[in-house]
C-alpha cells in the first residue's frame, strides 16, 4: 500500500473501522431484525423469542394465516408480477429506442430532449402520479362522453394506468443504462458487417444488439425491481383488486397494525430482491 494510506490510517485506525461498523449496523440492522422476527412464534411480531415457526409463511388456522394461504396477498403478488413484467418489456423497448436516439442521431434540441428524458426520475413520485391521474381522468371523461360510457375505462385507475404510470419513470432508468452501454460501442464494427454484405438492420440485430445484451438484461432486472417495489406513483393509479400490487396492500395493512405475516412478506421480498439485485450487479460488471 502507498504511504498516504498509512498516514491517513494513522489518524485513527479504530475510529474508521468503528464508524463503518456503526454504518453497517444502521443500514442492515433493522432488516436483519425484521428477517429474524418472521420466524418467531410470538404473535406480536416482536421479542421475546417464543420458538422457531414457519406459520407466518404457511398456516391456515384462524388466528394464524401464513402469507401463502392469504388469498388477497397472493393475488397482490400475482398482480405485481404481471405489472412488473409488462412495465419491464415496454421500458426495455423504449430504453433501446432512446439509446439509439441519443447516441446515433443528431437533431436540433437534442440536449434539451436529453434533460427532458431525466424529468420523470427527478419529479417526486406523488406529483408524477397525480399529474398522470388528472390527465388520464380528463381523457377518460371525454372518451366516455364521445363514445358512450365505459369507452375510457382503461384509463381509469387500474391495471393499465399503473403500468403507464410506472413506465413513465422506469423507462428513464432503462434509457440511462442502455445509453451508457451503446456509447461504448465501436460503430466501425457495424460498418464492417455492412461491408461484408449485411443490411444495416441485420448489422444492428447481429452485432449491436448483441453487444447491448448485458446492459439490456441488467436494465430489465432493475426495471422489474423498480416496478415491483414502487409505491408513490402506483398509489394514485391503482384502483380495484386487479391493480392492487404488493406495496399497496402492505401499506393498507400497516395502517391497521403489524402482524408477523408482514415480516414473512418482507423476508420473501428481501430474498428475491437480493437475488435479482445481485444478478443486476453481475450483469453491470460484465458491462465494463
Amino acid at each position: 500500500m502507498f504511504t498516504t494510506d498509512n498516514k491517513l490510517k494513522s489518524f485513527s485506525y479504530w475510529f474508521y473501522y468503528g464508524y463503518i461498523v456503526l454504518i453497517l449496523l444502521f443500514t442492515a440492522g433493522p432488516l436483519i431484525v425484521t428477517f429474524i422476527l418472521a420466524f418467531n412464534s410470538n404473535e406480536s411480531a416482536s421479542f421475546p423469542w417464543q420458538g422457531f415457526t414457519l406459520d407466518w409463511f404457511s398456516s391456515s388456522t384462524p388466528d394464524r394465516v401464513g402469507l401463502f394461504d392469504d388469498v388477497r396477498m397472493m393475488s397482490a403478488v400475482g398482480t405485481s408480477l404481471k405489472v412488473a413484467t409488462v412495465v419491464t418489456i415496454i421500458s426495455i423497448l423504449l430504453g433501446v429506442n432512446n439509446a439509439f436516439l441519443f447516441v446515433r442521431e443528431k437533431f436540433v434540441g437534442k440536449e434539451f430532449m436529453y434533460m427532458l428524458m431525466l424529468g420523470p426520475l427527478v419529479v417526486p413520485g406523488v406529483v408524477l402520479g397525480t399529474s398522470i391521474l388528472s390527465f388520464t381522468h380528463s381523457i377518460a371523461n371525454s372518451l366516455d362522453s364521445a363514445m358512450g360510457f365505459g369507452a375510457g375505462s382503461f384509463l381509469r385507475p387500474g391495471f393499465w394506468l399503473v403500468v403507464f404510470g410506472q413506465v413513465s419513470f422506469v423507462a428513464t432508468t432503462t434509457t440511462l443504462v442502455i445509453t451508457a452501454r451503446l456509447r461504448k460501442f465501436d460503430i466501425s464494427l457495424e460498418e464492417a458487417a455492412m461491408d461484408l454484405g449485411t443490411t444495416q438492420a441485420q448489422a444492428i440485430r447481429l452485432i449491436t444488439l448483441r453487444f447491448l445484451m448485458p446492459a439490456v438484461i441488467g436494465a430489465a432486472i432493475v426495471a422489474f425491481l423498480f416496478s415491483f417495489e414502487n409505491f408513490n406513483t402506483t398509489y394514485f393509479l391503482s384502483g380495484a383488486d386487479n391493480s392492487t400490487t404488493v406495496p399497496i396492500i402492505l401499506y393498507s395493512r400497516l395502517r391497521f397494525g403489524i402482524t408477523p405475516q408482514i415480516n414473512a412478506v418482507s423476508v420473501l421480498l428481501m430474498v428475491s430482491t437480493g437475488i435479482l439485485g445481485g444478478l443486476a450487479a453481475l450483469f453491470q460488471k460484465s458491462d465494463d
Binding site: Y19, P30, P124, S131
Partner: protein
C-alpha cells in the same frame, strides 16, 4: 437525396416513440396539472384561488414550511453521516473490504422503501424491539413509543436516502489522486487541513449532486414519512394526496403539486448557482 430521406426516416423512427413516451406520460400530464391548478373546482372558471388558499391558510403554509425545513435539515444530517462513510470506503479500506462494505451498504437499497420503513416500525413501535430491549435492560418498566416523533421521521428519511449521498461523493473521491493527498501532507498539512483544503473541495461536485438528490427525495417522500410519522407527520405530499383522493379536489391538489415542484426546482437551481456548480458536469 435518397440517402437524406433514409436518414430522416431513421431519425423519426426513433424520435417518435420517444416523443410519445415523454409527451403522453410526462410533459402533457404536467401541463394538465399546471392548467388544473388555475381552475376553480366548483365553477370551472379561471382563478388564482387555489394558490391564494395556500398563502392565506396558516395550516398549509406551516406544513409546507415544516416540510421544507425538515427536508433541508435531514439533507445536512445525511451529508454529515455519509461523507465520512464515502471517504472511508474510497480512501481507507483495502480492495476486498471496500467491495464487501459497498455491497452491504447498497443491498438494502434494492429492497422496497416500504419494507425499509416497516423494518423501523418493527424496531420503534410501542411494543417493538427497542422498547422491549430497554425493558430487559431495566432502563424502563413500561412500553415506550418511539414512532410518530419528528426524530423518527428524520431517521427514516436518512435511512431511505443515504445511498444517494454516498455514491456521488464516492465517485468524486475516486477521481482524487492519492498523490495529491500525499503532497498535501508533504507540504506540512495535517489531517484536518488536508481535509479542508484538498479533499472536501475536490468532492464538491459529488456533495452537490448527492445533496440535491437527497433533498428532492426528502421533499417528495410519502411512504416513510406517513408510516413513521403517522398522523403527526404533517408532510406536504400528504396534502396533495388528501386533496386528490380524500376530497376529490383535483384543482387544489394540482396547485399544491405545482408549488412543491416549483419550490424544489428553485432550491436546486439556487444551490447550483451559489456553489457555481454545473449539474450536467457534476453528474
Amino acid at each position: 437525396m435518397l440517402e437524406k430521406i433514409k436518414k430522416y426516416r431513421r431519425l423519426w423512427g426513433v424520435l417518435i416513440p420517444y416523443l410519445i413516451w415523454i409527451g403522453v406520460l410526462f410533459v402533457i400530464p404536467h401541463i394538465k396539472l399546471f392548467g388544473l391548478s388555475f381552475i376553480d373546482y366548483r365553477s370551472d372558471e379561471i382563478t388564482l384561488g387555489n394558490y391564494s388558499k395556500f398563502f392565506s391558510s396558516p395550516l398549509y403554509r406551516r406544513v409546507f414550511l415544516r416540510t421544507g425545513i425538515f427536508a433541508i435539515a435531514t439533507t445536512m444530517l445525511t451529508l454529515a453521516i455519509s461523507f465520512p462513510t464515502a471517504f472511508i470506503i474510497t480512501k481507507i479500506l483495502g480492495k476486498t473490504m471496500k467491495s464487501v462494505v459497498l455491497l452491504a451498504v447498497i443491498l438494502p437499497y434494492w429492497i422496497s422503501e416500504l419494507i425499509r420503513a416497516f423494518a423501523w416500525m418493527v424496531l420503534l413501535r410501542e411494543t417493538g424491539v427497542v422498547s422491549y430491549m430497554l425493558q430487559v435492560a431495566g432502563i424502563t418498566s413500561e412500553n415506550v413509543e418511539f414512532l410518530y416523533h419528528n426524530g423518527t421521521i428524520m431517521v427514516g428519511l436518512i435511512y431511505t436516502s443515504m445511498l444517494f449521498m454516498i455514491i456521488p461523493i464516492m465517485n468524486s473521491l475516486d477521481s482524487l489522486d492519492d498523490s495529491l493527498i500525499e503532497a498535501a501532507y508533504d507540504l506540512g498539512g495535517n489531517f484536518w487541513s488536508t481535509m479542508k483544503e484538498v479533499i472536501i473541495p475536490h468532492s464538491g461536485p459529488g456533495i452537490m449532486v448527492g445533496s440535491t438528490m437527497v433533498f428532492m427525495l426528502n421533499l417528495g417522500n410519502y411512504v416513510t414519512v406517513t408510516l413513521l410519522g403517522g398522523k403527526n407527520s404533517l408532510w406536504f405530499t400528504e396534502n396533495i394526496y388528501n386533496q386528490f383522493i380524500v376530497r376529490f379536489n383535483q384543482n387544489q391538489g394540482a396547485a399544491f403539486g405545482v408549488i412543491l415542484l416549483t419550490f424544489s426546482v428553485l432550491l436546486v437551481w439556487l444551490s447550483l448557482k451559489v456553489t457555481k456548480q454545473d449539474m450536467a458536469g457534476a453528474m
